[in-house]
Amino acid sequence: MGLRGGPPRPAEPGGPALRFSGVVHRYRSIVALDHLDLEVARGETLALLGPNGAGKSTAISILLGIQRAQEGEVSVLGTDPRSAMASGKVGAMLQVGGGSGLPHGVKVRDLLSMTARLYRNPAPVARTLARSGLTELADRQTQRLSGGQAQRVRFALAIAGDPELVFLDEPTIAMDVEGRRSFWAMMRQFSTEGRTVVFATHHLDEVDAVADRIVVIRKGAVVANGAASTIKAAVPTRRVRFASKGVDPARLRELDGVNAACVRGSQVVLDSLDADATVRALVASGVSFTDIEVTGADLEQAFVALTSDLAEAHTVDDAVAPAYSAPIRRPPASRTAP
């Protein structure tokens, strides 16, 4: 029943780590979650993506037991979200906006040891400190930490209870490149110990490197579900590059399949939903060009394609639609009932 390929997993007691089935949640007239279905296997690292307002926050607050789903079923580690949280098998690192997310007037070590004692089977504090790269900062007062250091402490808080399932919302948002790199190295180490990790981020390059699987949410429902490579391959966007002098961008946008055109000096870049048709139209148009190159979508383009209004009818799912490949230009305003 594993969602990924490869050798079958050992028997999984209690089923998946996380399951949403047909979850609906509304705020007055706004539908935040529209029959959301989601399943995360134990030991899996899943990236949850979606533009702002897609329903990610609502899904997160439901899985953490902060809100109750109005319709549908949610199970976390085989029980309801609140019981799972109370049992101490779930850890979470939330977004904190402008603040540090930490109480003041306490040393990092004391904060972590207090937090650890709230859990039934916590990790030793020294191990939590080491896992989150905080050993040297253990005696620092929380109000003296930099933004990136505070973020590492919040990661440490999430893992202090030695949880089976860890949820991370934008975990690297305040970190510099080096901080992010070492953070994901720590995270990788942590997830290889058989733990389930679900994270949300806007840094798509991280997703590509870290996640076993990606789920993209849009308007409260899953629009893509699969490995990064599957999602990239499934999105018909291609990038057509060539060199040309004095070409009019407006004219390029008229070419078949072109989604966006960008001209910088003699360099032209076209985003196309049908590269073959675009190249044929380009040749037919009589525009002179050299050095033409067609490349596949990167994850960011795939994400944009999946979540923009052009993508209204896209659904990518490993299980349901193994290969989405029909390179059809879709009318921008088409609305398809889910």
């Binding site: 926050s57 949280m85 977004q95 003041h104």
Partner: protein, 249 residues
């Protein structure tokens, strides 16, 4: 459930290590007591007791109020703003434990504040009471500090981290001045004398003034404080629910 004592201990220690907090809550009432002790003749009779004794009760009340408003209000507003309260919601601690712990912390901190002011009265003011009266006074002031504790927590929930300081300062000023903690109520302008009857600070101190005058604490005062505690408690529960039900982005 098991985490509650751990968390309470953490909160109390964190508060006690805060030098500024301890300095303000203990320092203000002690310094004011010493400063204003000689505003009247210390042995002047007032409300069935002496000024030095009466004013000691006033300053113990002031200290209890300042301690509660800061322990609950200021810190809670800051911790809501920093995101710490949300982080706590994703631990095994039950959702009500944050408020409960704030109120309990406030109650624990108030006791030494009252004791220090009493000690100042004994050592510097020359206040003499029977051991039983000392004990009853301490107990009465401590138990009824519950209404200040819930006021502090409510302030922490309604104020933002920017508005909490002016709000706490304003409350401290209004409640202590109009409640007769600095100038006895009979000496206040007539309009304010009527206002005092509505303030928890006045009824709180009245319980103590009655004890040191050898009278039984007034049932009316206790009733008003209890009503305050109930109303504030309900308001806190309501604000907590509002905070809780918010999805977070």
């Amino acid at each position: 459930m098991t985490g509650l004592p751990t968390f309470l201990r953490f909160e109390v220690l964190r508060l006690l290590r805060n030098v500024r907090y301890v300095g303000i809550t203990v320092g203000f009432p002690v310094v004011f007591y010493v400063l204003f002790l000689h505003n009247e003749h210390p042995e002047a009779r007032i409300a069935g007791t002496t000024w030095k004794t009466y004013f000691m009760v006033s300053m113990a009340s002031f200290g209890a109020m300042v301690a509660s408003l800061n322990a609950g209000g200021t810190r809670l507003a800051a911790e809501r703003a920093s995101g710490w309260t949300r982080q706590l919601r994703v631990t095994p601690l039950p959702s009500w434990s944050y408020i409960t712990t704030k109120i309990a912390t406030s109650m624990i901190i108030v006791l030494p504040v009252i004791a220090v002011v009493e000690l100042t009265g004994l050592l510097i003011g020359g206040v003499r009471l029977s051991p039983l009266t000392w004990a009853v006074l301490t107990l009465v002031l401590w138990a009824s500090a519950f209404s200040f504790a819930s006021l502090g927590v409510l302030v922490g929930y309604v104020a933002s981290s920017e508005t909490v300081y002016p709000l706490v300062t304003a409350l401290m000023f209004l409640l202590s001045f109009f409640g007769g903690l600095f100038t006895p109520v009979p000496d206040l302008p007539v309009v304010l004398r009527h206002a005092a009857a509505f303030l928890p600070s006045y009824h709180y101190a009245s319980l103590g003034w009655a004890v040191v005058a050898g009278r039984a604490p007034g049932a009316g005062d206790a009733g008003v404080l209890l009503a305050y505690a109930v109303v504030l408690g309900l308001a806190v529960t309501w604000r907590h629910r509002v905070d809780e039900s918010r999805a977070f982005a």
